[in-house]
Symmetry: C2
Subunit: 489 residues, 2 copies
């Protein structure tokens, strides 16, 4: 495992100080131009040198006729060029002393026999000049912490903690908005393309050492070097969780992946084995991939499989219990101590059988403070799942009923909701036990947003919340297995 990202051959690709950009122009709809624009959009702070055979300026930047005219040897070259001139350009970059590149251009291995030969040529040129490059047929890198985004879509959302390596390029970009809506973002995301020189294992190693990355997400269509993959992942996953979505699981997915990046997809069961040997938690969908990343990054490891469910509504509680049961999670009974502590908070209609169904709260505030505080203390349980229903309209109505003046209700409700979020997030920190929420309200609701902003995971259904908790348990069990195997050697 790398001690520092500076040891990685990818470091200058992910953290360049200067970039030579090939293929951007003043034609605003050209792919290269779009990519240069999203780079500038995020406010990249280094030097950008567009190289263009004719233009004096490109997108307002001074352009250079050739790589030889650049005022310095840049850390990185980005090539968004027609296939036929990629080799020559990379070769020129090598001659000029550039050691790192991203080859966005397609038309290589994924495009048949002729492309395969071209890709071989590319590899040879890189070897000749000692160039490390990502691609071809990729979108490059997004490092939100370095204000670097070489893809064609604008980076939205916060500088995040999810490190990603993806064998689909556009997939990465399409997750920008998806994650931002949930208050999440990438630390560094790689679109690895055909992996002619840099592969997904190199990226994983980089992310393993990256201090901004709390969890690693992999989008896999086919692993090329199984042995190296398992070795690296096994080491990294002991320090940092890795979640993988493998798209070649079915025959249909396999075929689709194959034509998309030319990767070799293997039987689904084989991948199951590879992932569990590697300590990697497997996700069955893209949604799960990031659900799992969220809990693995934000929550402590659970001691075991026992879950308490807190609800004030029977249906959501029962669905949550059912989901937990299907996933092999257990719902323990409360200990007499907990029952005693809870008693003052439970109305006569409520149930203290797990799920703890309050039906209604004597004092609504208890639902976000005293009650979960007691449940997180339960010695028979390893995690807490809470159903959240707190529409802003409802809070405002309560305030109205409490006699708060109309003009103060808006402000008061915001303050109250923030206080509730603060309380829940405080409990999570204080108890060191996993806590996940679920709701049928929009994740954009004020209260839910407040929780997400504080890294309290809340999911849009009980099934998702239960699966996320299950992923925590899986990670813990895989890690223990690997660690005990290591000891027994």
């Amino acid at each position: 495992m790398l001690k520092s990202i500076t040891e990685s051959p990818l470091f200058p690709i992910v953290n360049p100080k200067s970039i030579a950009f090939f293929g951007a122009s003043n034609n605003i709809s050209a792919m290269g131009t779009t990519q240069l624009n999203s780079l500038m959009d995020l406010g990249f702070e280094g030097a950008i040198y567009p190289v263009h055979p004719k233009e004096e300026t490109v997108q307002g930047l001074r352009a250079y006729r050739s790589v030889y005219d650049l005022p310095e040897v840049p850390d990185l070259a980005i090539l968004v060029l027609p296939t036929r001139i990629v080799s020559q350009t990379l070769s020129d970059c090598g001659k000029r002393g550039i050691k790192h590149a991203i080859v966005v251009s397609g038309g290589f291995k994924e495009a048949g026999k002729k492309g395969k030969a071209l890709e071989k040529e590319l590899i040879e040129i890189a070897d000749t000049y000692g160039i490390r490059f990502i691609g071809p047929n990729c979108l490059g890198v997004t490092n939100s912490h370095h204000k670097l985004n070489t893809t064609f879509l604008r980076y939205e959302g916060p500088a995040g903690f999810i490190g990603m390596a993806s064998q689909s390029g556009s997939f990465v970009t399409q997750m920008f908005d998806y994650l931002a809506r949930r208050g999440l973002g990438f630390s560094t995301a790689f679109s690895v393309g055909n992996e002619a020189n840099v592969d997904i294992v190199d990226c994983m190693k980089y992310l393993g050492a990256c201090p901004h990355t709390k969890v690693i997400a992999l989008y896999i269509e086919g692993i090329r070097n199984g042995r190296a993959f398992i070795k690296a992942a096994r080491e990294i996953s002991q320090q940092k969780p890795i979640v993988a979505f493998y798209v070649g699981g079915s025959e249909e997915g396999k075929k689709a992946g194959l034509s998309h990046t030319g990767a070799m997809a293997g039987p689904d069961k084989l991948y199951d084995g590879v992932f569990s040997q590697s300590g990697i938690v497997r996700a069955e969908s893209i949604a799960e991939l990031f659900d799992f990343c969220q809990v693995l990054a934000c929550l402590p490891k659970p001691a075991g499989r026992r879950v308490v469910i807190q609800t004030h509504s029977g249906g959501p509680g029962a669905s949550a219990a059912d989901s937990c049961g299907r996933l092999g999670l257990e719902l323990p009974s409360l200990s007499p101590e907990t029952e005693e502590k809870l008693a003052p908070f439970i109305p006569h209609t409520g149930s203290i059988q797990n799920p703890i169904d309050l039906t209604f709260a004597k004092n609504p505030m208890d639902y976000f403070s005293n009650i979960p505080d007691i449940l997180l203390d339960e010695k028979n349980a390893d995690a807490l799942m809470i159903y959240f229903l707190m529409p802003t309209a409802m809070v405002q109505q309560s305030l109205e009923q409490m006699g708060v003046a109309a003009e103060r209700i808006e402000k008061k409700s915001v303050a109250l909701i923030e206080r509730l979020c603060e309380s829940v997030s405080g409990l999570l920190k204080a108890h060191g036990k996993p806590l996940v929420g679920f709701t049928f309200r929009s994740l954009s609701d004020h209260f839910i947003k407040g929780l997400l902003r504080r890294n309290v995971p809340v999911f849009a259904s009980p099934e998702q919340a239960a699966k996320a908790l299950r992923a925590l348990v899986t990670y813990k069990e895989l890690s223990e297995k690997i660690s005990s195997e290591a000891e027994s050697i």
Copy 2:
């Protein structure tokens, strides 16, 4: 099967002209008051008679000291009273000639031995006076088309086409906002509670005949009368799709359901059998329940399992293909005719292997018109799945690049997006083949909202979209099986 809802004993409960309301007061936080308020909120157009022992008016309505003082015999009595006075009140209602009631109050069968005896008493009173009643321990009925909502939450969203019968009460209310966000709504929704007199089968029969109901959703914790259930469902499902979510599937879910409404949950496999015999499509989660309702109500039956996927992005296309494969859907190759027709629209980077991956469109408009038009014509395919990525910002950017003046861009982009939605929805109508969309953007995006408003189903992930298509196939296969069994008798 009922020919008309007027034949149903539930008709006056769902479509009352006048209501006696017991248990509302001027204490705004009382449950009864909240329920009366949401009834008034939706603009119920009949007469409401609050009955209160002391107040002259309740929530601004003239109140009556007892049921005997009412100016007419109302169609329906709603009881939100302390358990101990429910029997006496129902008995008084009977004496006054009221034939229909909703008993919201809890504390009956679900609350142990004493409650069980109370419930028996209630049933006897009803029998004595010929009263049909929903409950106890329920929230009653929401009939958005009749502006009736007896639950404690305000009804949000459109008057919809999903008929629902639920063994969890609060669940129904919590779906108001959930469905509204997706442009969906209930036609009539029942919270059946303990089913002491009216049961889920009665509700299903009503919904089967209800002209506003295009699809029936069931939330089941335990079926009491299996034979009657199967007989009714089998008949109805031949005319109108039924989707069921059964929460007692796991041991944990079973226990939770048990303590919640006192229903008997049976082994999961048994329910599998009951549902498929009944022609009912089973959902594995609440999210699936309404996903399936949406496609079953909005889309025609597919002829078979063969799906074409249209995408301009490899990753989402591959995930969609993988999801289809896992669910037993097939991805046929295009016929030579289709290939020929498509050729002019496919750029050199694109793939016409299924998934049809355009990578980019020569003319972006084709993606929403010519291309799906050709794919829906494919004789080798029974359904089309389209990946949608159309952020408003992107449309506005294109217009900017086309030289549209800044002040006209907002309006132009709205018009353009509406035109695209109209085009997709027109194709769906013209071809009579199922078409589902999927996206990773928010379902609140302008374009997606426009599609949903036109009853083009769009889902938040490829997995959801594939499962929804699979549900269509399942419904078709179950219906055919039942119909062929009926013929062979």
